[in-house]
Amino acid sequence: MMRQGEWLGLYVASVAVALGVSAILIRATGGDSLAVFDALIEGSLTGSGRWGLTLGAAAPMLLVALGTIVSARAGLVNIGQEGQLLIGTAFAVYFGFRIGGPGPFNLVVLLVAGSIGGALWAGVAGVLRFRRGVPEVLSTLLLVTVASQVTAYALGREWLLLASNSVGARNNVSEQLAEDNRLPNLNIFGNQIPSSFFLGVVFAVIVAFALARTVWGFQLRMLGRSPQAAQRAGVSQRSFGMRAMLTSGAFAGLAGTVMFAGGGFQFSNYKFVPGFSGNIGWTGLLVALVARERAMPAIAVAIAFGALRTGSSFVGSTGVEARVTDVIEGLLVLALLVPPAVMFIRDRRRARAATTART
């Protein structure tokens, strides 16, 4: 009981501090902080049809987060989801239009190709890590820039991704995805709920189950917490770590694909465009961190961050720059890192006090 109370108190205090700092910042730049928060809530929840959009924005964040959770549990710091998401989407777009086929079939092609693309890009970092000893924390980051250049290149070439009717246009964009190849929406209480969100929830359940209840998840956790013990038990860092990395990238690629093919929140009107990822890779990563690398809580966190995203489009009307939501998001994440860190020290200190009798 005491612990729950402490947790709650810490979280409430952290969020309050983050929002307070955000409010001060908005005031300081001449804005009306209450109006901004009102706009955020209206744009994400109370506005007509908005919560469907919020779930649509949450879906790819959730998928990215799930991938992050898998790699993080294996002790890997994959923080290049933004790039894996881009390459995954590029794969999906390329193979989707090349292979074609009827709607549902094409949709499956999209999702599979997207996952493979993301996995391959993460695999590059995996190979660098496990064959060449390059820390994945850095290679995944550097590969983000490379990925955005690679996709920009592909978008500029008609034989790759460029739509034939947009050759010579100011912005390079891909063909638009045909209507019957898109992920459908479900109509619930007047809101268009994108199926991508349900996909995300299903995967969240699968990941949660796999980590907690399967031998694979058991060994993955062991690898992440104690590579030495894992090696004794026959869990090879190389092959298990590599698989975790590929899985992680596949989720990021899948996230990009549902952004491309999914309804709800409009990321780019079913086209692949420059800057397509829109920081969803980064945000998804933050979702996983705030959810403390657990799959089920990630659903709730993703919705909250999705709400910030959809809410931000209403912020402009208050006269405050919409980028303020990025700031609020960053401050929130930073603040939410504090409670687990505090509790970790407290728990361990208490355990130590209780167990290390006299040394």
Binding site: R213, T214, V215, W216, F218, Q219, R221, M222, R225, S226, Q228, A229, A230, Q231, R232, A233, G234, V235, S236, Q237, R348, R350, A351, R352, A353, A354, T355, T356, A357, R358, T359
Partner: protein, 532 residues
Amino acid sequence: MSQAPPDRTGVDAHTAPTPAVDLRGITKRFGAVTACDSVDLTLSRGKIHGILGENGAGKSTLMKILIGLVLPDGGSIHIDGEPQQIHDPLAAARLGIGMVHQHFSLVDPLTVWENVALGEGSRLDPGAVRKRIGEIGDHYGLHIDPNARVGDLTAGLRQRVEIIKCLRRDPSIVIFDEPTSVLTPEESTTLFESFRDVVAAEGRAVVLVSHKLDEVLAATDEITIMRQGRVVEHLRTMNADARTLARAMVGREVSLRTERAALGLIEVDEADESLAAPAAASMDREPVLSIRHATAIGAQGAPVLDDLSLDVHAGEILGIAGVEGNGQRALGDLLSSLVRLSSGEVSVGGNVISTRTPGAMTAAGVGVIPEDRHDSGVVLDMTVAENLVLMTPQQVANRGVLDRAKLARRAEQMIAEFDIQCAGPEAPMWSLSGGNQQRVVLARELSYAPEILVAAQPTRGLDVGAIEYMTDRLRAAAAEGVAILLISSELEEILDLADRIAVMYRGAIVGEMLRADADLERLSLLMGGAAA
């Protein structure tokens, strides 16, 4: 116990000058546990003072308070008659208190002089530090190259660096914390003999913290005995004998061989017919574990195993004696599939086992109680139940899905059988005490009926009761036919348990003997690297 215990020595009561250190009523609690319970301690100049107690008696906490690593909850500290607060090791150093640590105080990649200079407050002056190292070397006979990298040194030389690091500040009060685990018996005798003269001549106060009776009896002038956080005895060494000391330490009459071994009483000469029997019987059969010409290169590029060969037979306990840091860790890691051989081979039951495949040793039936259980023995962030099946989760799974009920049942059964104190199977591993974590390791490693059990420093840091439990279990396993490789830097433990003894020095086995033929002098020479 709030009053000082009667001073049986009568040494410094009236005539003696102000004591170097006078601790009065020192109390320290960790949560519900009282590590030091109004402890009084007086250290005199020119004397070596032994502090004796089991693991967990509170002697380390007391010393940590004296050098400022732990702050006391109550009591007073007087140094040379002046009341003092010691908040950190630097403050202790300013008061002339220095400690020679048993572990973890040297940084391998740094040079000797850098290590010696570490932890002072003054400006860094490499020339002066090097010069001082030379002076100390001349004065105490502790010669060493100040520019050598500490990681390249042998265990004995590292201990020398520790001592120089302590003496560099010219401390008037020197604390030795369990120094003998990294010294051969020979070396420790020499060290304390040479120290005794210097101490007397220069009026230093020296504390020797130990759990070994004979060491304290041999080296000290006065002895304070601690038990469960209290001082239970204080007497002159010349008035002391092993039996009284042992009784005071443990709080009851000591008879069992194991207990006596745990207290550091070596009884080589006692004829014991039962000792030779199992070894002799098992020697005829094929060995279960056979290591041939094993060579492995460590992270620093030097060989950690150097053409090592040994055999262990079913039902036998082979003790690997040796001063710490001579490749024992690599030997344990080799049998945990954590070290790869660059040449040589390991075979179990006649089959050669690859040292490149993770988990190959476990799969071949090698159980390991690792030297550092936090390294490869337990996963602190997983539950007790999970830790109990760490190596073989498949056994509690159906088609890759863990069977929670089966896992819990199995865990409960093992918790009961090995009397593991914990809040239940779902308790996180980090919430257990060291002794109970060690029981989890033991329970698990025995649970898959290994053919070979490697026990590396299995009793380190445990109290007498836990040591007894551990050694009983090892004996029982051997009786059931498990081949046991006992790696220990505690010679007493090896003499107590092993049927056969091999001595490890610089990554190789340099000598072997049956327990029944064990000869302390020869063992000591072998441990020090003298040719057999």
